[in-house]
Symmetry: C2
Subunit: 153 residues, 2 copies
DNA sequence: CTAGGTGCAAAAGGTTTGCGGTTAA
DNA sequence: TTAACCGCAAACCTTTTGCACCTAG
């Protein structure tokens, strides 16, 4: 677990809004940048605690809310599961493996034809796409043995 | 508020699974079929209560869960807002107006080119698309007066 | 008759909030 | 110095659950 060489845009993004650069916020942000998976607030809390034992869950929630509000991180919602957080700011979708529960980013292709029929006058500012299915590993497991269903968590 | 002329597929869909056709379930289903908006469990409860004052919220949750489990209705998730329910069984996406909070169904076009790049081996079984933006009314309100922001609910 | 469903109240679980003490700027 | 922030605990709100009674089949 090596330290990120630099903290891209953290100082500037936080500073731009007149927000304080507190150690807690830095820690939360580093957790998100370190492993680019999609941890829940609690998972962020647990990881942050390892480096900063005094941090509280409420503070993690506060930091995450602040960062989402400032567009520094994105909140990811899958069904009614706990909110997950994502430091990937590029426009992207998510793939939710119903086998292992893992969530991975998916890129949109360049020619991304937005194939939907919108009533005229509607103005779209954002679109969230979540695919569901089996990842390579879970798909293989499922194929190889009809007895063992993929772990439905 | 007139009674639906018939209850399409309710008896058969419920019966097929060996589930009882209770008055409560029928009532919950009728609420969903009546206005095809996307009510939350609590909203379904309130509407159902008007016709059946003795029904309980827990029962509404139970009925909805049963019906979702049997594919008779769909659960719709937008951010971390309360789960909404939808009787439209066709594959479709949702448009969430950030002005008035209303959720409307959107159809996919025939040629719906799925413009995303998936790691090889991933198997997609389902995709949820949620667009966010302003509906015609809220967009108009926003344009006409720069002072009055659309109701952010 | 009886398995499955209902209604009530209490619990669970994620998230938010009030508040006194702390700290970055 | 001081407004913003932290940490704690309690509150909130949606959803789930345990259990006694009820009812559709």
């Amino acid at each position: 677990m090596k330290k990120s060489p630099s903290i891209p845009s953290y100082e500037s993004a936080m500073g731009r809004e007149g927000l304080r650069l507190t150690p807690q916020r830095r820690q939360v942000y580093e957790v998100l940048m370190d492993k680019r998976d999609h941890p829940t607030a609690t998972e962020v809390f647990i990881r942050a605690q390892k480096k900063m034992p005094s941090i509280s869950l409420a503070t993690v929630y506060n930091c995450l809310e602040t960062m989402v509000g400032n567009g520094l991180v994105k909140a990811v919602h899958v069904d009614r599961e706990p909110t997950r957080f994502c430091a990937n700011l590029m426009e992207h979708g998510h793939f939710h493996c119903t086998g292992c529960g893992h969530i991975s980013d998916i890129e949109f292709s360049q020619t991304h034809d937005k194939g939907w029929k919108l009533p005229s006058g509607f103005l779209v500012t954002q679109h969230d796409l979540t695919l569901r299915g089996l990842c390579t590993d879970c798909g293989a497991t499922f194929k190889n043995s009809n007895n063992s269903q993929p772990t439905t968590k």
